[in-house]
Symmetry: C2
């Protein structure tokens, strides 16, 4: 589990089995219920309790923008930024041929069906700024372009509040090549 | 001194005065020599041993681009990124009215003279992505625009190798609003 090493795991296990058997029972039931209730959104593949996730079910979102991200945690990150009012599509991973993760596993067929509906005008590639994320973004952009849609990539550059002196060379190189006209 | 707190300072002082009196003498002389030799470049205000710094004296740089940064350390950072072949102008700080740092202290008059020569076509604003850095960038951009020059700002966004999940909301908001057309 993320953030829990062998030592922490052992401590948690002893606490649950020794002192907190009631809590252990509750935990087990809560996980069972969560497993039963939480599935995938039929539209964007986000984790969801019903057939559609809240974001897909909402009437207040802009149908013309589709933000493609790698994971449910990324949806929350973009939502928390407060800068986006469109829809999402969650790949649930990134291209990784060695792990057997290809276009089918990332739901690119479902994505294509969604784009075929014709409501999306702009596909925003918000995969991670890693090598795998870039490769995944490239594949998605090819797909969107065959449909004649506008494709954009979130900006890479100096983080908000960042000082040049402490930014790595790769980021600074991206910030320079991606510089934008002012005014 | 940056990175040296009271404890470290005391340890260094005792070492120099107790066991390393020879080294202390050398240090004193080295600092004196450095103070005598290192001044400011007459052109870009970078630290320099001669009248001009190496970057201003070089024939291999592109005169049409001028990258405006806050400090000498930022010049090194941009150089180390390997993505830039133009000239620099070092403000030696950022706008900070409360500390008495205004346009005169940042050498904006010298910058204006340099732009008046007519060789610079694009001014690249590479001040820090902080509130003070943005305010400083704004003032420099006004100056460059009265000369009719192209003004660009280095990109703000997700750092190279960064994962959305661990990026702060402000950065992600900038990355979204600064998204760029692909292909």
């Amino acid at each position: 589990m993320p953030g829990i090493g062998p030592k922490s795991a052992q401590r948690l296990a002893f606490r649950l089995l020794q002192d907190e058997r009631g809590a252990a029972q509750e935990l087990s039931e809560a996980v069972t219920v969560a497993l039963e209730r939480v599935g995938r959104c039929g539209r964007c593949r986000m984790l969801a309790e019903g057939e559609l996730c809240e974001l897909c079910a909402s009437q207040a979102r802009d149908d013309s923008q589709l933000c493609v991200v790698e994971s449910p945690a990324d949806v929350l990150a973009v939502e928390n930024s407060g800068a986006y009012r469109g829809r999402y599509f969650v790949l649930m991973g990134h291209l990784s041929p060695l792990d057997g993760i290809g276009p089918a596993e990332l739901g690119l067929h479902e994505l294509d069906l969604l784009l075929a509906e014709g409501r999306v005008r702009e596909v925003i590639l918000a995969t991670n700024s890693t090598v795998e994320g870039e490769a995944t973004a490239h594949v998605v952009s090819e797909l969107a372009r065959t449909r004649g849609l506008s494709v954009t990539r979130i900006a890479q550059g100096v983080p908000f509040g960042g000082e040049l002196e402490y930014v790595d060379g790769g980021t600074l190189a991206h910030a320079l090549t991606g510089r934008q006209q002012v005014g």
